[in-house]
């Protein structure tokens, strides 16, 4: 996949976004851009505001200030058009355990307006790609944690989104499953040109060449690739940079 032309809109553009729960400010003037075809890590400790940000970008909450654009479409002004370009893997498991893999995927395909024929073809393709084709008729309850996550990724890709959001998708998975999932999503950026926002608090999921947005106490503390963050913190290791930057902020 070649890089998108300069004129192509970013997969996600967030500008001046703030959000409060009562008096507590969960997000404060957050702004960043996720280009198409790029794996971007949203790095932050628990409680940094990652889930609130996801809830705003998926329009479970509405942004009262700032703007959110998905592929150049304003989420607030044209929510249905913007959401059609978005695929999401939530932190919580959101598949129906009593339905089969295929039934879960057909449900999602219908919600996104795919015909039965289109849905069948895409389900087959996504399950093949994720090595889950032989489990299509199994109930989700019978799958391992890693397989369920892969089903959720397949589901998020069925309607061919341009932006994929994943909220701590590897939490609770073993090392092998984690690696498989991270590798697959990175592959999607390269082959499909997807813009990916991957929220995590696990430093070992970040590669040096990834774009990183460091969110801390509801604010963007730093943004850039791993090397830029290390340079900013004047350390060699991204883990150290994370600790140093967040501690400096806390102090």
């Amino acid at each position: 996949m070649s890089s998108p032309p300069v004129s192509a809109p970013p997969a996600l553009e967030v500008t001046g976004l703030s959000h409060s729960f009562g008096r507590r400010k969960a997000l404060d003037d957050v702004g960043f851009t996720i280009p198409q075809g790029r794996f971007t890590v949203l790095l932050g400790q628990n409680g940094a505001g990652k889930t609130t940000l996801f809830n705003l970008v998926t329009r479970l909450y509405s942004n009262r200030s700032g703007s959110i654009e998905i592929m150049g479409v304003d989420l607030r002004a044209r929510p249905t058009v913007a959401l059609a370009k978005l695929g999401v893997v939530f932190q919580l498991r959101t598949v129906d355990l009593d339905l089969s893999v295929k039934q879960n995927l057909l449900y999602h395909a219908g919600l996104h307006g795919l015909s039965r024929v289109q849905a069948q073809a895409r389900i087959q393709a996504e399950l093949d790609r994720l090595s889950l084709a032989e489990r299509a008729n199994d109930k989700v309850r019978q799958l391992s944690g890693g397989q369920v996550r892969r089903v959720e990724i397949a589901r998020a890709l069925l309607h061919k989104p341009r932006l994929l959001l994943l909220d701590e998708p590897t939490v609770g998975l073993d090392i092998g499953s984690r690696q498989t999932i991270v590798d697959h999503v990175r592959q999607l950026c390269a082959t499909d040109g997807l813009g990916v926002l991957w929220a995590t608090h696990l430093i070992d999921e970040v590669r040096a060449d990834d774009a990183v947005i460091l969110l801390h106490q509801g604010r963007v503390l730093a943004a850039g690739d791993g090397a830029t963050l290390c340079a900013k913190a004047e350390v060699k290791d991204l883990g150290q940079a994370f600790t140093k930057l967040t501690e400096a902020r806390a102090a």
Binding site: L92, G110, R162
Partner: protein, 282 residues
């Protein structure tokens, strides 16, 4: 990339055509039906409850509580006959609250998010979800009526057809109430309160178990409460429709309450204004 953008536009058009609405409705209803099939216990419980009332409660009270001639009945009727429409309402009431419980559960578990993130207007998604629950509930009512037929609760045959719109409207009202409650209930644990403060008062302070004129003889205040209870009107709508008649007041109140409850529920689920906004992590 321009070709890809054109593809995106085509996809958006395709996704926002009428077919998209239809496909979404179909899968939401299909999912509710599958869920229902998988939860046989729920189906049995939904039937056993009114049947216990019919076979035991009503049989026990038939000698004490014979009901004199009153519309829509043209003769004296047995107590079992009188309470059958109320028990149909009971099925719809419990189903409405059950789907409310399911929605709170779905929200806590996350699967409600999949629905709400779909690229369709939120009101439409909620109405589909509501409609799916109502269809399943109405099916349960028909199974109940079929069993009741063998218990000699035999309204005219035409009544089985004319009661359908009444059941749909009443189911819609009670489902909307459930939807409304699901938008304001913060956690699953609070659901016990719904049982105590919504289901029981609604059912007992209504015309489901006793005619309102009898209640009036006992207490005017209680009669006023029963009359103000939308569930009474839903039951009367079903009662008259089961005998091929329309009760205009009941129809107006039930339709009006459906729209009111639905409007508040949609407000509750609106990301910009609703109650979701103030519930962190909901």
């Amino acid at each position: 990339m321009s070709a890809s953008l054109a593809g995106d536009d085509r996809l958006a058009l395709e996704q926002h055509g009428l077919a998209h609405y239809w496909r979404a409705a179909r899968v939401i209803i299909g999912r509710e039906a599958l869920r229902f099939i998988h939860q046989r216990g729920r189906f049995i419980a939904a039937l056993v409850r009114p049947l216990v009332w019919l076979f035991i409660f009503a049989a026990g009270f038939r000698s004490v509580l014979g009901v004199s001639i009153q519309p829509p009945y043209v003769t004296y009727v047995l107590y079992e006959v009188y309470i059958t429409p109320g028990l149909c309402g009971m099925i719809l009431l419990f189903a409405g609250m059950q789907s409310s419980l399911a929605m709170v559960y779905d929200r806590e578990m996350g699967s409600m998010r999949v629905l709400l993130v779909s690229p369709l207007p939120r009101w439409y998604l909620l109405v589909c979800k509501l409609g799916a629950g109502v269809l399943v509930a109405v099916l349960q009512v028909y199974v109940f009526l079929a069993i009741a037929w063998f218990w000699e609760i035999q309204p005219p045959l035409i009544g089985y057809f004319t009661v359908l719109p009444a059941l749909l409207i009443a189911g819609f009202m009670l489902g909307s109430l459930g939807l409304l409650l699901s938008s304001v209930i913060r956690q699953l644990e609070n659901f016990a309160g719904v049982m105590n403060f919504v289901i029981f008062p609604m059912f007992f302070a209504s015309s489901a178990l006793y005619p309102l004129w009898r209640v009036r003889e006992s207490s005017v205040l209680l009669w006023q409460l029963c009359w103000a209870n939308p569930f009474s009107h839903a039951v009367e709508l079903i009662r008259f429709a089961l005998y091929g008649q329309i009760e205009p007041t009941a129809l107006a109140v039930t339709v009006g309450c459906s729209l009111l409850f639905l409007a508040i529920a949609i407000f509750g689920y609106d990301p910009a204004r609703g109650f979701m906004q103030i519930k962190r992590g909901s």
